[in-house]
């Protein structure tokens, strides 16, 4: 918003709980918190000038995504026809640094309060004939007071803004945690493929960071997660390799059924089955890079209220299996910025529900289906029951063979 031409006259305050993060060059080791950035999100970052900084720091583009089942041979491969980048794996710190640089460029319009925390919000009363200010009052921990026409809550899935605004949140904690780590591969490779295998305990994903390093995101039960964190490095690496390579979950029945379906498909649609590539094997893990955090799903019943808007995880929380969490958030940003820019150009009061509701409708329509689909996938792949495995095996194989569905995904 700071870079929007219709906002030249406005003042924006950004309350950031963390410290200022700016890097001129990245440290040698990779951070274990990374995100998969979609091309759409990259466009958004490009539009505010941050993408150049990201590129000059560090990122890894991937061209292909292979997703397969642990219980069968079924596999689906995503790649763009024109061999364009499908997405980018970027460390979160890199994105923060790039955004910080761009915020500095508009420091006269955007004031960032680092290491700040809001302790109290005072909402405007709906009746306009009162004597009290019709704006939102925010009191910070250090005693400073701010008042604003629009408060945007981007404070994560435990959003305080959402709670204080009394917006109901439908949430469910998964009985899973995600284990992250920075891994070193056994041998250098092009490493431009993202790998994900659905184990009965949860999906394990390997996201490329460089020719020799990848980032691990392994969603599994809480118990298994703590085991993984506490075991020694060699055992950890062994677990990862066996998760990707072992076939113990296969059953003859499923294998035969799957093979039958596959030959039927290749008969009907010869180009529909792709070559299965083998994921790289892991040699070592970066010391101290192992961490775990609990997973859940959530969706706020409203994204907006008079003078309040929620974006990102504050509005919706999703399982990492689709790598979409941050991209949904970026999508919210692009949409809200678009509507606020138009409202500013119309001279409207920025906190007015009229345009906020347009943002809410647009994003809810988009987000709800994706969140629901991700949740369904998570549940579908959490089982070894033969009928469901068969269903998802055939479903995956069929989806792999049918370009229209793949493109939509």
């Amino acid at each position: 918003l700071g870079h929007d031409i219709h906002f030249l006259d406005k003042k924006i305050a950004l309350l950031e709980a963390g410290p200022r993060k700016e890097y001129d060059h990245m440290p040698d080791s990779y951070s274990n918190r990374v995100s998969s950035i979609s091309p759409g999100s990259a466009t958004l970052l490009r539009s505010c000038g941050a993408w150049d900084h990201v590129c000059s720091l560090r990122l890894k583009a991937f061209r292909r995504m292979q997703v397969w089942d642990a219980c069968s041979e079924a596999m689906i491969v995503f790649e763009k026809d024109d061999l364009d980048d499908m997405g980018y794996i970027v460390e979160n710190d890199v994105i923060m640094s790039a955004l910080t640089k761009q915020l500095d460029a508009v420091a006269d319009r955007v004031e960032v309060f680092y290491r700040s925390r809001a302790v109290r919000y005072t909402w405007p009363l709906p009746s306009h004939s009162s004597d009290t200010s019709p704006w939102v009052q925010v009191e910070l921990a250090d005693g400073r007071r701010l008042q604003t026409k629009l408060l945007i809550g981007a404070d994560g899935h435990n959003s305080v803004v959402r709670k204080e605004a009394e917006i109901k949140n439908i949430e469910h904690q998964y009985d899973q945690s995600a284990v992250v780590a920075t891994l070193h591969l056994s041998e250098a490779t092009d490493n431009n493929v993202a790998w994900q295998r659905f184990l009965p305990t949860g999906p394990i994903a390997l996201l490329p960071l460089s020719d020799t390093a990848s980032s691990l995101v392994w969603s599994t039960s809480h118990d298994h997660a703590s085991e993984l964190l506490s075991m020694d490095e060699e055992s950890f690496v062994d677990s990862i390799n066996s998760a990707f390579w072992s076939n113990i979950n296969h059953s003859d029945f499923i294998d035969t059924a799957g093979a039958m379906f596959r030959s039927a498909l290749s008969f009907l649609k010869p180009s529909g089955t792709a070559v299965r590539q083998l994921p790289p094997s892991v040699a070592a893990v970066d010391a101290g890079s192992r961490a775990a955090f609990p997973l859940g799903v959530g969706h706020a019943t409203e994204y907006v209220q008079h003078r309040v808007a929620l974006i990102g995880d504050a509005a919706h929380r999703v399982h990492p299996l689709a790598g979409q969490g941050v991209n949904l958030g970026f999508g919210d940003v692009a949409c809200l910025a678009h509507h606020l820019s138009a409202a500013a150009f119309n001279g409207s009061d920025l906190g007015s529900l009229q345009h906020l509701l347009k943002f809410e409708t647009e994003r809810q329509r988009h987000n709800v289906s994706l969140i629901a689909a991700t949740d369904v996938l998570k549940r579908l792949y959490s089982t070894t029951l033969a009928p469901l495995v068969l269903l998802r095996t055939w479903g995956l194989q069929a989806t792999n063979a049918l370009p229209p569905i793949k493109v939509r995904i």
Partner: protein, 289 residues
């Protein structure tokens, strides 16, 4: 004696004609505190901003060569006649214009003043006055770049006087924007019966069909009083979505943009005499206020 005969050079019209209708004033007085409830009685006027503000903004931008990013209307002096609670004055002020809002109903002005007072930027850019158009003519000759009279002319008692006063306070080549309702069978059915009595989109009794103005008559009055009509566009309200949009037909609501003739008309190619400047004091000047 002298104080009784205030003879001023430029006062061409007697003030025994007022364009303010006292019955109309009473209607609006009752609802003075409801202006800013976006979902209340004035909801349709709030959502009309979505088309009338861009209309005014884009017309003015297309006529000027300076463009201040972030403040597209900065430097422009606008008079909002019949501003009510300031629903249109505020967005114009936010876009950078210096706005003077006038309305004969004092309660409206009070509501408008209070609403703008919370925003330091608007408080400086907008000035409200409880007054009729005639009352400010004397002190505001050729002061404004733009006059906006939105949903007003269907409430005035004497439209021609109103237009003449607009012309007086407007700078040469200034713009006049009017939005109002056409006088057709359709506007009676939809604008009065449905809108007021059935659906309650407009508070009952707000409008009188007799006072609706057909665009042809408005154009005639404008053209014969030194204006040249540049744009006439039809507007349509969708009560289900609560939103307005433009339409071809002017049979219901419509908007007009007219330009006041310049002080020096362009030199005519055939050498004919220029039109009489309407600023000349007429022979009927001299009646006391």
């Amino acid at each position: 004696q002298l104080s009784l005969c205030r003879v001023t050079v430029k006062r061409p019209f007697s003030s025994s004609h007022s364009s303010v209708d006292s019955k109309e004033m009473k209607k609006f007085q009752l609802l003075a505190h409801k202006w800013w409830d976006e979902e209340g009685e004035y909801a349709a006027l709030h959502s009309m901003n979505d088309i009338r503000v861009p209309f005014i903004r884009d017309t003015l931008l297309s006529m000027s060569s300076n463009y201040h990013l972030g403040n597209p209307l900065s430097g422009i002096k606008i008079l909002d006649v019949g501003c009510g609670g300031g629903l249109l004055s505020e967005p114009l002020g936010r876009l950078g214009a210096s706005v003077t809002g006038i309305d004969p109903v004092e309660d409206n002005i009070r509501t408008a003043d209070q609403h703008k007072s919370f925003d330091p930027v608007l408080a400086k850019r907008i000035q409200y006055k409880s007054s009729s158009l005639e009352e400010i003519v004397e002190e505001s000759m050729e002061t404004f770049d733009v006059i906006v009279a939105s949903e007003v002319v269907e409430h005035v008692a004497d439209l021609e006087t109103f237009i003449k006063c607009c012309s007086q306070v407007l700078k040469p080549e200034g713009s006049l924007f009017i939005t109002t309702i056409n006088k057709t069978q359709l506007s009676y059915v939809l604008g009065i019966v449905v809108a007021e009595k059935i659906m309650g989109i407009v508070p009952e009794g707000t409008h009188e069909w007799e006072k609706f103005v057909p665009p042809e008559e408005l154009e005639r009055l404008l053209e014969s009083n030194g204006f040249s009509v540049k744009t006439v566009k039809g507007m349509l309200y969708n009560p289900l979505s609560g939103s307005w949009r433009w339409m071809e037909s002017t049979s219901l609501n419509y908007a007009v943009h007219a330009l006041k003739a310049g002080a020096r008309p362009p030199p005519p190619a055939t050498g004919t005499l220029p039109q009489t400047d309407i600023q000349q004091p007429s022979a009927t000047a001299g009646t006391a206020p």
